[in-house]
Symmetry: C2
């Protein structure tokens, strides 16, 4: 099997694209900037959804569903929100097609909408317009709602999973009686995302705050988790926004407090998207294909039989039947690849490409010796092990692989946070090594914009665990009280 | 608690609407014809999704995701398909808004799309355009894919869940090497739907075929399940289509067969939607509120404490804690409603409205007597039972309720299938009794259309288990070989 994947060193960006397509994760659709998520890719996304959904419910949230379309006028109600989203949205203007009489299907101009509808790029406006009807008193609060949905942002330059016109995500939208409670909610959901990224995706993340310039349009504070990819570029993997009373004011959502006062409601919103699929691929995979952490792999173990005669096959089948039953019993997802249309070498390459964490090969000689060959995808080692106690061995190996993948990403990330104390050093590190650059910044939007123009690096976040430290801005020489993390980013 | 629900006898349609809104299932959104599915309603839909999704996977299907937008030209490729869907669709014509300088947000005319995009009303066209790239040989077949998605059909008259501009559904799209295999798939999925409707929704259904006139636009054969609502109107609860080679021909999807011949691929598609929520409500509920079958109820058991002193409350709490642990252990979903802001009577009425199958009330006297009061929602009985063996009793009662709800609906349905042998009788039964009317029909589209115009009744289906029977069409007197089922329908 020829994989046809460009190597990372040759062209990282092309490697990513090749991998996403060859490993059957996704492909570009016939519609500009949109993607088709293929069954194998969607299987990973489904596992992400299931695990996150459980976390959301454990923290008291329920799912609901709000309309795909948002009336244009809603958009304009929150000033910074419309600025942030109006320039990249899909607009529905008509509600009918017709035959023009010559066999062509054309838009029916008689069916023009009075008010255009925007395909949601995010749902704060339609949701806060709805919440107005749900909230009267403090007894109706908090509202802890999440929605799994598709959203559309008209991107000019797209990349599979990382930036597509339509993407899938979840968006939590909560309403609270107090500022403090809303801030705690935003922080809590950031923690949920961080725990998920680290324990499930095996991607270490830095929890931080965005600067004013990078904040969500309409938020008072945007919390984020930032991950590092193997090419030294950062990727924002999730955000959680403290929205203050901005949307409550824009949509006139008030409640009667315990003390009988009429007050505006406090809000948060938070989301992660199919972008996480891109982070997953870029954080771990290699030139041979995907490397999936066992906790997300749709297939954790693949078993490949190697035989010449039907008799040999029959013996292997019996053994594999028992092994599979044992593995399923302990919750391991396993596939027996006994296709007779492909040779073992082809199968090995295919499952390597698709990132299956563990491969078990069983041959006729193995059956005589009571052994199998185990191959780990993450470090590409093979070992011959006894058939006895095999399922327990596999279970513990899967844990080990999960830990190892995380540790490797963590080592890489930690060795790519560089403290610098001058702009020259900043530029030198940015070009030679990449990664996060920790440096003093004077806290102004102007400086941030200038650095972005000059170097393409942006402030990824102000880490939550930052220490206060006297210093001088490496760009302007002005005083600064803390370091922030710059990086080039996806 | 004043429920404010119109009674069924007074105004069935208003009763339905009141119930959907008051029971917190859904409400109309600010966008014309669209709905907000509220957390309680969405919880029921999530259970439907989880159970169906499991069935789909057990029958070999995987989920994937295809774009929301369909290029206008795709639509025109299958002639009957475009006719069926072009007249009710949302059309995206622009991709940007801008500020007009006077503070108004307007559509940016410079951002007009070269080709308009249709918000998917169904995805056959975009999916078959994609499958062309996935299929080369018989080894690539079958493709068994499902997608959970939102779709949009621009309906002029809408009703919550039953007919809304945007709705949620699943659509299976499969590709096969032979006609026979595709027909078997379409039939298999109809069986999955029927089993789900009867065993989970507790709604008996008739499996049948649609007439040519009622077929899906682009199908060679449409199979359906038809349910009966309490007002005697039928509701199509799911459809499964044998599409022949229509879409493969329209999108040029061919494969090399085992014999080395190039052939067009055979197709099916099948779907159920949030419409099932409407069926669920209308099939079972009463003037007091929802009646949910236990297998779908987000809350199967609600426990309401009745006490005067904190001491009494403390004793009840201990008992309830143990009971809840036992119930959760056996997979029963239970809620302890110990809100101190509402009185027991209010809580009783609220959970009755929301259709919780079983209510457990525990008072101070119960604690002395070692009893609780159990109230069944379906038949509105109360009984005092021992606290001993209570969780086992609850478990078996939930089964009994599920069976009883189904049996009641089945009795109603069976007593509302009336054989008639003349048009007068047909009209009389249709007006006086409603339900399904079984009669001979001459098999022509003209007669079917005429009857629809004159009576509003349509042919719901030709039952799959129909017996061949010589007869004469009650409308035209022409010969007929079988009876079909007419009804007024949602």
């Amino acid at each position: 099997m020829s994989k046809g994947i460009t190597s990372r060193s040759e062209d990282y960006s092309q490697w990513y694209n090749d991998l996403v397509i060859k490993a059957d994760l996704a492909e570009y659709a016939a519609v500009r900037g949109c993607m088709v998520i293929k069954p194998y890719g969607y299987g990973i996304w489904e596992r992400m959804q299931a695990i996150l959904d459980k976390r959301f419910k454990e923290t008291g949230h329920s799912n609901a569903y709000f309309p795909l379309f948002i009336p244009k006028s809603f958009f304009s109600k929150e000033a910074s929100h419309v600025e942030g989203f109006a320039t990249e949205c899909a607009v529905v203007t008509h509600y009918r097609l017709k035959n023009d009489g010559n066999g062509n299907i054309i838009v029916d101009e008689d069916a023009k909408l009075e008010e255009e509808l925007i395909v949601r790029p995010t749902s704060e406006t339609i949701i806060w317009n709805t919440y107005r009807g749900w909230i009267e008193s403090y007894r109706d609060l908090p509202i802890l709602v999440n929605q799994w949905a598709n959203v559309v942002r008209w991107e000019m330059r797209t990349r599979l999973f990382l930036r597509t016109t339509e993407f899938l995500w979840q968006e939590g939208h909560t309403a609270h009686a107090t500022e403090q409670e809303a801030i705690e909610e935003a922080e809590r959901m950031l923690d949920v995302y961080a725990e998920f990224a680290e324990n499930i995706l095996a991607v270490p993340v830095i929890r931080g705050r965005k600067t004013e310039n990078e904040r969500f349009a309409g938020a008072l504070d945007t919390y984020c988790i930032e991950a590092l990819m193997q090419d030294g570029k950062a990727l924002q993997a999730g955000t959680s926004h403290f929205l203050g009373q901005n949307f409550a004011k824009a949509f006139d959502v008030k409640f009667t407090s315990k003390e009988g006062k009429l007050e505006h409601v406090w809000a948060t919103s938070w989301g992660v998207s199919t972008r996480l699929m891109g982070a997953l691929v870029m954080a771990h995979s290699d030139d041979q294909g995907l490397i999936l952490p066992p906790k997300l792999a749709p297939i954790q173990v693949v078993i490949v039989p190697i035989f010449r005669t039907e008799e040999e096959k029959a013996t292997i089948d019996v053994f594999v039947g028992t092994l599979m039953a044992e593995l399923k019993e302990i919750g391991v997802s396993v596939k027996f690849d006994d296709r007779d249309t492909q040779r073992p070498g082809f199968k090995f390459a295919e499952w390597e490409l698709k990132g299956v964490p563990l491969r078990v090969a069983v041959g006729a000689r193995d059956m005589q010796n009571g052994t199998v060959e185990l191959a780990r995808r993450d470090i590409q080692t093979k070992e011959t092990v006894s058939q006895e106690g095999l399922s327990a061995k596999i279970e513990s190996l899967l844990d080990e692989i999960q830990t190892n993948i995380y540790q490797k990403a963590l080592n890489f990330r930690d060795s790519h946070i560089t403290e610098v104390n001058s702009y020259d050093e900043f530029k030198e590190i940015l070009e030679s090594k990449g990664g996060f650059i920790s440096c003093h910044w004077d806290g102004t939007v102007e400086t941030e914009k200038r650095v972005k123009e000059e170097t393409k690096a942006t402030i990824r976040c102000i880490p939550l665990d930052n220490k206060v430290e006297e210093g001088i801005c490496v760009f302007t020489g002005k005083p600064s009280t803390q370091r922030v993390l710059f990086a080039k980013a996806y």
